[in-house]
């Protein structure tokens, strides 16, 4: 089957690009002597995980316990669930552990640590450190670090598995120098937290950092045991705008058909709207705002004159053309591919991927969506 045979909208995955992206990241982190535990929140696919894990130790990061269950069922047991844990999820997590998951959960509160310690299941816990993003976690010099460790140790089983941080604020950087600076701060924060724990007599086996930009531009991972990049498997036009990848590295795109010509308004409409592309507007923060996605040729995947999807409705995407004669290039029924702002958000609207090599559809890969 060819791409041109697909019904639209459809989520296209260029397998060759995933292979390149994952090989590059694997080689980069190996070069720094640090393990990679890819974050599967982007792809949510066992097939993509297999590519990302090639040459790596087999540990994955997940964003939901449903993903943890999915990867466990597919034979990947070494799992970090990298969203702050709350006691309402103890039962589900305990069940995963009982079924063989080597699950690590994360906390940033002594109260939660006490609830976990009291539960009785053999949980492994990472303490989440805030290295500057100010989303979740505690600062590495915070007194709560040792309170959490003590709460876990109270139980008498070595539950404390280490420390973890996420430098999500690297997405706010506007230069490689800024990203390098965030990477240094990320490492400084996590190694300080690890040192404090060890000085207080606790084990700290896992020292985990990660974001795709800092994984790409970080130049020193001393004291770090593992890195958790996520979006690198696919990249997107936001990452390209950050300078983390090139537009040519973006592995996912949305296939869409032209459904209307609005000549009076110099616009064409496609059948990919807010649901098919997502309403993510991350490139609005960059120098070059790419609307809801960058319009590319269906077969070559190359951008077409910088055209973007300027606005979306639930099932409609609006593309403004530079001039009226361009309508002939986009007859109704013709197809384009649209590169997303944020591949994690866009891919989540689809059950799975239409996997392509060139213009051939070679496979369908499923996703594990929802909660």
């Amino acid at each position: 089957m060819k791409i041109s045979d697909l019904q639209t909208p459809a989520l296209i995955l260029d397998r060759g690009k995933v292979v390149n992206n994952t090989k590059m990241m694997t080689a980069r982190l190996k070069g720094h002597g640090v393990l990679m535990r890819p974050h599967m929140k982007t792809a949510k696919s066992i097939d993509v995980a297999r590519l990302a894990l090639e040459g790596n130790f087999g540990g994955v990061t997940v964003s939901t316990l449903k993903e943890a269950d999915y990867f466990l069922r597919h034979g990947y047991a070494d799992i970090v669930y990298a969203v702050c844990f709350e006691p309402g999820k103890l039962g589900v997590a305990a069940d995963l552990i009982e079924r063989g998951a080597d699950l690590k959960i994360i906390v940033d509160s002594a109260d939660v640590a006490r609830a976990i310690a009291a539960d009785g299941s053999p949980f492994k816990v990472l303490i989440e450190i805030d290295c500057g993003e100010h989303r979740t976690g505690i600062t590495p010099d915070h007194p709560a670090l040792l309170d959490i460790a003590a709460a876990l140790a109270d139980r008498g089983k070595g539950q404390l598995a280490g420390v973890l941080t996420h430098s999500g604020h690297s997405y706010q950087c506007r230069s490689v120098d800024e990203i390098r600076s965030v990477a240094r701060a990320e490492r400084a924060a996590i190694t300080l937290a690890a040192d404090r724990l060890r000085s207080a007599g606790y084990d700290c086996e896992i020292v985990s950092v990660g974001s795709t930009p800092t994984a790409i531009f970080g130049d020193n991972f001393d004291g770090v045991t593992e890195v958790r990049p996520g979006v690198f498997v696919f990249y997107d036009i936001f990452q390209a705008g950050l300078g983390v990848c090139s537009v040519g590295d973006v592995a996912v795109s949305v296939l869409a058909s032209v459904i209307s010509h609005q000549q009076e308004h110099n616009r064409i409409l496609v059948d990919a709207g807010g649901l098919a592309l997502s309403k993510d507007r991350s490139t609005a923060a960059l120098e070059k705002d790419l609307g809801f996605g960058l319009v590319c040729d269906r077969d070559t995947g190359q951008p077409i004159d910088g055209l973007t999807v300027g606005s979306v409705y639930q099932e409609h995407g609006q593309i403004t053309l530079p001039n009226v004669s361009d309508f002939n290039r986009f007859p109704i029924g013709s197809q384009v591919r649209i590169l997303p702002n944020h591949s994690c958000m866009t891919a989540a609207a689809y059950d799975g991927y239409q996997v392509v090599e060139g213009t051939e559809v070679i496979d369908q890969w499923k996703r594990c969506n929802g909660w």
Copy 2:
């Protein structure tokens, strides 16, 4: 089961509110002597459709051919697919008709009309009219109106089923008077198009308009045969901000758990982020910007001091508290419900609904997502 027993995030549907919302709209349109063909793009659920169709003629509107297939399989054959049709979908649509669908498709191009006429399947076609939204459709005075009719008539079978318009620009209104004015323009446009077709000797059985705001505030539907409101089944806080409903009418909400306290930043974090809430920011255009959703009490569903989700990450939502003492009201592991900006977008992230009456979970209803 109680709401408090659910794993989070979860999509909560208050059945009683759906019943009220659909009864109110049914009564309103009956009062105007016009049929209701509810747009199922919001709920994508046969169970919600049954409530919305109670006391109505049974016709539905859909936004994807997958929805058309779903409603046909559940016994609802009278279907308008209200997104401009393109020839790449002829095969799928023809298959639906062969299986018994009384499917109506919409076009705004004579080229597409010719492709449909040439296909040979007994398609019924509505011509899409632009009544001021400038998304798709042709203006009612456009010469193409008769070209499209002629292209369809050429085939020798009475394929032209009528005209259809969508006053989506009612969402840009900022007063009831403005919405009434859009409703008048919507009716004027569609009846002009119908009159032109009839004057030229064509049948024009269906004269279809619709948006929730104009369905609520329109005061004259003379010459209109059917109205296609969609979001009214659930409403959302954007519609409440428009004045189309009250916050108390909003039937869907996202159940979330508190996962972190960030006392230094006066923020709590919940486990509902950009995927669970959607990245829709429609209330940003209103007087009162409600961020990514309005925070409510889990059991009563009442808003809590105007708290909103100020920012989102993939699985994290950030809520700023007015003052530090509020942290005690939201212990980690406690739950809140979040009313969405745009229920069509938020609901699409879930396989289905946790249907509640008060604090009891009484059922699970499935959704038909994707394409």
